[in-house]
Symmetry: C2
Subunit: 177 residues, 2 copies
Protein backbone atom coordinates (compact mmCIF):
# COMPACT_ATOMS: atom_id res chain seq x y z
CA UNK A 1 0.00 0.00 0.00
CA UNK A 2 1.44 3.35 -1.09
CA UNK A 3 -1.52 5.70 -1.57
CA UNK A 4 -4.71 6.52 0.33
CA UNK A 5 -7.74 4.96 -1.39
CA UNK A 6 -9.87 7.80 -0.05
CA UNK A 7 -7.86 10.93 -1.04
CA UNK A 8 -5.00 9.62 -3.22
CA UNK A 9 -2.15 11.02 -1.09
CA UNK A 10 0.78 9.04 0.41
CA UNK A 11 0.33 6.65 3.36
CA UNK A 12 2.86 5.73 6.08
CA UNK A 13 3.15 3.04 8.75
CA UNK A 14 2.27 4.55 12.14
CA UNK A 15 0.54 3.47 15.35
CA UNK A 16 -2.87 5.21 15.54
CA UNK A 17 -4.08 6.81 18.80
CA UNK A 18 -5.55 4.22 21.19
CA UNK A 19 -3.99 1.38 19.21
CA UNK A 20 -0.97 -0.84 19.84
CA UNK A 21 0.29 -1.71 16.37
CA UNK A 22 1.32 -0.05 13.14
CA UNK A 23 -1.26 0.52 10.42
CA UNK A 24 -1.23 2.28 7.06
CA UNK A 25 -2.33 5.87 7.80
CA UNK A 26 -2.83 8.65 5.26
CA UNK A 27 -0.28 11.48 5.67
CA UNK A 28 -2.90 13.93 4.41
CA UNK A 29 -6.43 13.00 5.53
CA UNK A 30 -5.41 10.76 8.46
CA UNK A 31 -7.64 7.80 7.56
CA UNK A 32 -6.45 4.47 9.00
CA UNK A 33 -6.44 1.66 6.42
CA UNK A 34 -6.93 -1.53 8.43
CA UNK A 35 -5.91 -4.82 6.86
CA UNK A 36 -7.47 -8.04 8.11
CA UNK A 37 -7.46 -11.77 7.32
CA UNK A 38 -9.62 -12.99 4.45
CA UNK A 39 -12.09 -15.86 4.56
CA UNK A 40 -11.95 -18.82 2.20
CA UNK A 41 -15.07 -21.00 2.25
CA UNK A 42 -15.49 -24.49 0.88
CA UNK A 43 -17.43 -27.72 1.18
CA UNK A 44 -17.17 -31.44 0.54
CA UNK A 45 -20.15 -32.43 -1.63
CA UNK A 46 -21.18 -36.07 -1.07
CA UNK A 47 -23.54 -38.35 -2.96
CA UNK A 48 -23.95 -42.12 -2.72
CA UNK A 49 -20.87 -42.42 -0.50
CA UNK A 50 -18.58 -40.57 -2.90
CA UNK A 51 -17.26 -37.03 -2.72
CA UNK A 52 -16.69 -34.46 -5.42
CA UNK A 53 -13.24 -33.00 -6.14
CA UNK A 54 -12.08 -30.54 -8.79
CA UNK A 55 -8.78 -30.53 -10.69
CA UNK A 56 -7.57 -26.93 -10.77
CA UNK A 57 -7.33 -25.12 -14.12
CA UNK A 58 -5.78 -22.04 -12.49
CA UNK A 59 -2.72 -21.11 -10.47
CA UNK A 60 -1.70 -21.66 -7.75
CA UNK A 61 -1.46 -25.47 -7.85
CA UNK A 62 -2.65 -25.88 -11.43
CA UNK A 63 -3.45 -29.53 -12.16
CA UNK A 64 -3.88 -30.55 -8.52
CA UNK A 65 -7.15 -31.73 -6.96
CA UNK A 66 -9.12 -29.64 -4.49
CA UNK A 67 -12.40 -29.50 -2.64
CA UNK A 68 -14.57 -26.67 -4.03
CA UNK A 69 -13.50 -23.51 -2.16
CA UNK A 70 -12.66 -19.86 -2.69
CA UNK A 71 -12.72 -16.35 -1.27
CA UNK A 72 -15.93 -15.37 0.47
CA UNK A 73 -17.64 -12.37 -1.14
CA UNK A 74 -19.41 -9.38 0.41
CA UNK A 75 -23.17 -9.88 0.47
CA UNK A 76 -23.19 -13.61 1.15
CA UNK A 77 -23.07 -15.90 4.19
CA UNK A 78 -20.35 -18.48 4.83
CA UNK A 79 -22.67 -21.26 3.61
CA UNK A 80 -23.77 -19.31 0.54
CA UNK A 81 -20.12 -18.71 -0.33
CA UNK A 82 -19.29 -22.40 -0.10
CA UNK A 83 -22.30 -23.26 -2.29
CA UNK A 84 -21.42 -20.55 -4.84
CA UNK A 85 -17.85 -21.81 -5.17
CA UNK A 86 -19.17 -25.31 -5.83
CA UNK A 87 -21.48 -23.98 -8.52
CA UNK A 88 -18.61 -22.05 -10.14
CA UNK A 89 -16.02 -24.82 -10.02
CA UNK A 90 -18.18 -27.88 -10.61
CA UNK A 91 -21.52 -26.52 -11.95
CA UNK A 92 -23.03 -28.44 -9.04
CA UNK A 93 -25.83 -27.50 -6.66
CA UNK A 94 -25.36 -28.50 -3.04
CA UNK A 95 -27.24 -28.40 0.21
CA UNK A 96 -24.77 -27.17 2.84
CA UNK A 97 -24.62 -29.23 6.06
CA UNK A 98 -22.61 -28.43 9.19
CA UNK A 99 -19.30 -26.61 9.63
CA UNK A 100 -16.61 -29.15 10.49
CA UNK A 101 -13.17 -27.60 9.93
CA UNK A 102 -11.49 -24.20 10.33
CA UNK A 103 -7.89 -23.77 9.27
CA UNK A 104 -5.89 -20.68 10.23
CA UNK A 105 -3.44 -20.09 7.38
CA UNK A 106 -1.75 -17.42 9.44
CA UNK A 107 1.15 -16.32 7.24
CA UNK A 108 -1.13 -16.03 4.22
CA UNK A 109 -3.58 -13.88 6.22
CA UNK A 110 -6.42 -16.31 5.57
CA UNK A 111 -8.93 -18.46 7.45
CA UNK A 112 -10.36 -21.46 5.58
CA UNK A 113 -13.79 -22.72 6.69
CA UNK A 114 -15.22 -26.05 5.48
CA UNK A 115 -18.76 -27.46 5.52
CA UNK A 116 -20.21 -30.86 4.79
CA UNK A 117 -22.59 -30.82 1.82
CA UNK A 118 -25.02 -32.98 -0.10
CA UNK A 119 -24.62 -33.00 -3.88
CA UNK A 120 -28.14 -32.42 -5.21
CA UNK A 121 -27.85 -33.21 -8.91
CA UNK A 122 -25.40 -33.46 -11.73
CA UNK A 123 -22.07 -31.76 -12.14
CA UNK A 124 -19.77 -30.77 -14.96
CA UNK A 125 -16.46 -29.02 -15.41
CA UNK A 126 -16.56 -25.36 -14.34
CA UNK A 127 -14.40 -22.58 -15.76
CA UNK A 128 -11.73 -22.87 -13.08
CA UNK A 129 -11.46 -26.68 -13.33
CA UNK A 130 -9.77 -29.09 -15.75
CA UNK A 131 -11.80 -32.02 -14.51
CA UNK A 132 -14.46 -32.77 -11.87
CA UNK A 133 -14.97 -36.27 -10.49
CA UNK A 134 -16.48 -38.30 -7.66
CA UNK A 135 -14.12 -40.30 -5.42
CA UNK A 136 -14.76 -42.97 -2.83
CA UNK A 137 -12.76 -42.77 0.42
CA UNK A 138 -10.31 -45.36 -0.91
CA UNK A 139 -9.64 -43.49 -4.14
CA UNK A 140 -8.78 -39.98 -2.88
CA UNK A 141 -5.64 -38.79 -4.74
CA UNK A 142 -3.87 -37.87 -1.49
CA UNK A 143 -0.54 -37.14 -3.18
CA UNK A 144 -2.15 -34.72 -5.60
CA UNK A 145 -4.28 -32.58 -3.27
CA UNK A 146 -3.67 -28.90 -4.00
CA UNK A 147 -3.62 -27.34 -0.53
CA UNK A 148 -2.73 -28.44 2.99
CA UNK A 149 -5.93 -26.89 4.36
CA UNK A 150 -8.06 -28.92 1.95
CA UNK A 151 -6.11 -32.05 2.77
CA UNK A 152 -6.72 -31.45 6.48
CA UNK A 153 -10.43 -30.96 5.78
CA UNK A 154 -10.60 -34.22 3.81
CA UNK A 155 -8.83 -36.14 6.60
CA UNK A 156 -11.21 -34.82 9.26
CA UNK A 157 -14.21 -35.38 6.99
CA UNK A 158 -13.46 -39.09 6.73
CA UNK A 159 -12.54 -39.34 10.42
CA UNK A 160 -15.93 -37.84 11.36
CA UNK A 161 -17.69 -40.34 9.09
CA UNK A 162 -20.87 -38.26 8.83
CA UNK A 163 -21.06 -37.28 12.52
CA UNK A 164 -21.02 -33.64 13.61
CA UNK A 165 -18.05 -33.71 15.98
CA UNK A 166 -17.80 -29.93 16.14
CA UNK A 167 -15.22 -27.88 14.32
CA UNK A 168 -11.71 -29.24 13.96
CA UNK A 169 -9.49 -26.18 14.33
CA UNK A 170 -6.02 -26.31 12.82
CA UNK A 171 -3.22 -23.80 12.38
CA UNK A 172 -0.80 -23.62 9.44
CA UNK A 173 2.15 -21.25 9.74
CA UNK A 174 3.79 -21.20 6.34
CA UNK A 175 2.67 -19.45 3.18
CA UNK A 176 2.36 -22.74 1.33
CA UNK A 177 -1.25 -23.39 2.24
CA UNK B 1 -12.76 3.81 -2.61
CA UNK B 2 -11.70 6.54 -5.04
CA UNK B 3 -7.98 6.04 -5.63
CA UNK B 4 -5.66 3.09 -6.31
CA UNK B 5 -3.65 2.21 -3.17
CA UNK B 6 -0.85 0.96 -5.42
CA UNK B 7 -0.36 3.85 -7.90
CA UNK B 8 -2.60 6.68 -6.58
CA UNK B 9 -4.68 7.09 -9.77
CA UNK B 10 -8.50 6.91 -10.02
CA UNK B 11 -10.42 3.63 -9.72
CA UNK B 12 -13.75 2.64 -11.34
CA UNK B 13 -16.30 -0.13 -10.86
CA UNK B 14 -15.87 -2.71 -13.64
CA UNK B 15 -16.17 -6.48 -14.06
CA UNK B 16 -12.64 -7.94 -14.42
CA UNK B 17 -11.86 -10.57 -17.07
CA UNK B 18 -12.93 -14.06 -15.98
CA UNK B 19 -15.06 -12.64 -13.18
CA UNK B 20 -18.80 -12.17 -12.79
CA UNK B 21 -19.14 -9.12 -10.58
CA UNK B 22 -18.00 -5.52 -10.39
CA UNK B 23 -14.83 -4.68 -8.46
CA UNK B 24 -12.82 -1.52 -7.96
CA UNK B 25 -10.23 -1.51 -10.76
CA UNK B 26 -7.48 1.09 -11.30
CA UNK B 27 -8.01 3.11 -14.51
CA UNK B 28 -4.23 3.42 -14.85
CA UNK B 29 -2.39 0.31 -13.63
CA UNK B 30 -5.34 -2.11 -13.87
CA UNK B 31 -4.99 -3.62 -10.41
CA UNK B 32 -8.20 -5.16 -9.04
CA UNK B 33 -8.95 -4.12 -5.45
CA UNK B 34 -11.00 -6.97 -3.99
CA UNK B 35 -13.11 -6.29 -0.90
CA UNK B 36 -14.10 -9.17 1.34
CA UNK B 37 -15.92 -9.78 4.63
CA UNK B 38 -14.02 -9.19 7.86
CA UNK B 39 -13.75 -11.59 10.78
CA UNK B 40 -14.74 -10.67 14.32
CA UNK B 41 -13.57 -13.17 16.95
CA UNK B 42 -14.72 -13.51 20.53
CA UNK B 43 -15.14 -15.86 23.44
CA UNK B 44 -17.19 -16.45 26.57
CA UNK B 45 -14.75 -16.78 29.48
CA UNK B 46 -16.15 -18.98 32.28
CA UNK B 47 -15.00 -19.60 35.84
CA UNK B 48 -16.85 -21.25 38.72
CA UNK B 49 -20.08 -21.32 36.71
CA UNK B 50 -20.07 -17.62 35.92
CA UNK B 51 -19.18 -15.86 32.69
CA UNK B 52 -17.33 -12.63 32.05
CA UNK B 53 -18.93 -9.69 30.25
CA UNK B 54 -17.61 -6.19 29.48
CA UNK B 55 -19.55 -2.93 29.47
CA UNK B 56 -18.46 -0.99 26.39
CA UNK B 57 -16.56 2.29 26.80
CA UNK B 58 -16.57 2.91 23.03
CA UNK B 59 -19.06 3.35 20.23
CA UNK B 60 -21.02 1.66 18.79
CA UNK B 61 -23.26 0.62 21.68
CA UNK B 62 -21.45 2.57 24.38
CA UNK B 63 -22.62 1.49 27.83
CA UNK B 64 -24.02 -1.88 26.72
CA UNK B 65 -22.66 -5.27 27.78
CA UNK B 66 -20.77 -7.56 25.42
CA UNK B 67 -18.77 -10.75 25.33
CA UNK B 68 -15.07 -9.96 24.65
CA UNK B 69 -14.74 -9.75 20.84
CA UNK B 70 -13.20 -7.69 18.08
CA UNK B 71 -11.67 -7.65 14.62
CA UNK B 72 -9.21 -10.44 13.92
CA UNK B 73 -5.71 -9.16 13.08
CA UNK B 74 -3.20 -10.35 10.49
CA UNK B 75 -0.59 -12.66 12.04
CA UNK B 76 -2.88 -14.41 14.50
CA UNK B 77 -5.19 -17.42 14.52
CA UNK B 78 -8.93 -17.25 15.27
CA UNK B 79 -8.30 -18.51 18.81
CA UNK B 80 -5.39 -16.13 19.39
CA UNK B 81 -7.57 -13.24 18.26
CA UNK B 82 -10.34 -14.19 20.69
CA UNK B 83 -7.79 -14.46 23.54
CA UNK B 84 -6.16 -11.13 22.61
CA UNK B 85 -9.49 -9.31 22.61
CA UNK B 86 -10.22 -10.68 26.09
CA UNK B 87 -6.85 -9.46 27.31
CA UNK B 88 -7.47 -6.01 25.83
CA UNK B 89 -11.04 -5.57 27.04
CA UNK B 90 -10.87 -7.33 30.41
CA UNK B 91 -7.13 -7.71 31.18
CA UNK B 92 -7.95 -11.40 31.49
CA UNK B 93 -6.04 -14.46 30.33
CA UNK B 94 -8.11 -17.30 28.92
CA UNK B 95 -7.67 -20.81 27.62
CA UNK B 96 -9.72 -21.04 24.43
CA UNK B 97 -11.99 -24.08 24.16
CA UNK B 98 -14.11 -25.08 21.15
CA UNK B 99 -15.78 -22.99 18.46
CA UNK B 100 -19.54 -22.99 19.05
CA UNK B 101 -21.13 -20.15 17.08
CA UNK B 102 -20.66 -18.42 13.73
CA UNK B 103 -22.86 -15.46 12.84
CA UNK B 104 -22.99 -14.06 9.31
CA UNK B 105 -23.63 -10.33 9.67
CA UNK B 106 -24.12 -10.10 5.94
CA UNK B 107 -25.04 -6.45 5.40
CA UNK B 108 -22.14 -5.29 7.59
CA UNK B 109 -19.72 -7.50 5.62
CA UNK B 110 -18.68 -9.38 8.75
CA UNK B 111 -18.53 -12.91 10.14
CA UNK B 112 -18.50 -13.24 13.94
CA UNK B 113 -16.93 -16.41 15.37
CA UNK B 114 -17.28 -17.38 19.04
CA UNK B 115 -15.35 -19.84 21.22
CA UNK B 116 -15.89 -21.21 24.70
CA UNK B 117 -13.08 -20.24 27.09
CA UNK B 118 -11.81 -20.84 30.61
CA UNK B 119 -10.92 -17.73 32.60
CA UNK B 120 -7.47 -18.48 34.02
CA UNK B 121 -6.94 -15.76 36.63
CA UNK B 122 -8.07 -12.33 37.60
CA UNK B 123 -9.54 -9.59 35.45
CA UNK B 124 -9.89 -5.84 35.56
CA UNK B 125 -11.31 -3.09 33.41
CA UNK B 126 -9.53 -2.76 30.05
CA UNK B 127 -9.21 0.44 28.03
CA UNK B 128 -12.28 -0.24 25.90
CA UNK B 129 -14.50 -1.13 28.87
CA UNK B 130 -16.36 0.87 31.52
CA UNK B 131 -16.83 -2.17 33.71
CA UNK B 132 -16.05 -5.90 33.66
CA UNK B 133 -18.03 -8.39 35.72
CA UNK B 134 -18.91 -12.06 36.17
CA UNK B 135 -22.54 -13.13 35.68
CA UNK B 136 -24.36 -16.34 36.49
CA UNK B 137 -26.82 -17.65 33.89
CA UNK B 138 -29.72 -16.12 35.83
CA UNK B 139 -28.17 -12.66 35.99
CA UNK B 140 -27.29 -12.00 32.33
CA UNK B 141 -28.44 -8.45 31.45
CA UNK B 142 -30.34 -9.65 28.37
CA UNK B 143 -31.95 -6.26 27.70
CA UNK B 144 -28.59 -4.50 27.72
CA UNK B 145 -26.53 -6.77 25.45
CA UNK B 146 -24.70 -4.68 22.85
CA UNK B 147 -24.99 -6.78 19.69
CA UNK B 148 -27.41 -9.33 18.28
CA UNK B 149 -24.53 -11.65 17.35
CA UNK B 150 -23.24 -11.66 20.93
CA UNK B 151 -26.75 -12.21 22.24
CA UNK B 152 -27.13 -15.21 19.91
CA UNK B 153 -23.77 -16.55 21.11
CA UNK B 154 -24.82 -16.22 24.75
CA UNK B 155 -28.14 -17.99 24.09
CA UNK B 156 -26.42 -20.92 22.36
CA UNK B 157 -23.71 -21.03 25.02
CA UNK B 158 -26.26 -21.63 27.75
CA UNK B 159 -28.28 -24.01 25.57
CA UNK B 160 -25.16 -26.11 24.99
CA UNK B 161 -24.47 -26.20 28.74
CA UNK B 162 -20.78 -27.09 28.29
CA UNK B 163 -21.29 -29.68 25.54
CA UNK B 164 -19.65 -29.30 22.14
CA UNK B 165 -22.71 -29.48 19.91
CA UNK B 166 -20.84 -28.22 16.87
CA UNK B 167 -21.11 -24.72 15.50
CA UNK B 168 -24.46 -22.96 15.61
CA UNK B 169 -24.59 -21.00 12.36
CA UNK B 170 -26.83 -17.96 12.20
CA UNK B 171 -27.45 -15.26 9.63
CA UNK B 172 -28.28 -11.61 10.36
CA UNK B 173 -29.31 -9.42 7.45
CA UNK B 174 -29.45 -5.90 8.80
CA UNK B 175 -26.62 -3.51 9.56
CA UNK B 176 -27.62 -3.33 13.21
CA UNK B 177 -25.48 -6.25 14.32
Amino acid sequence: MKYCSSCGKHVSRKVPDNDNQERWICDSCGIVHYQNPKLVVGCIPEKDGKILLCKRAIQPRYGYWTVPAGFMELGESLAQGAARETLEEACAEVQIGHMFAAVDVVDAGQVHIFFTAKLLGDFRVGEESLEVAMFSADDIPWDDIAFRSGRYALEKYFEDDGQNNGVHVHELRSKRF
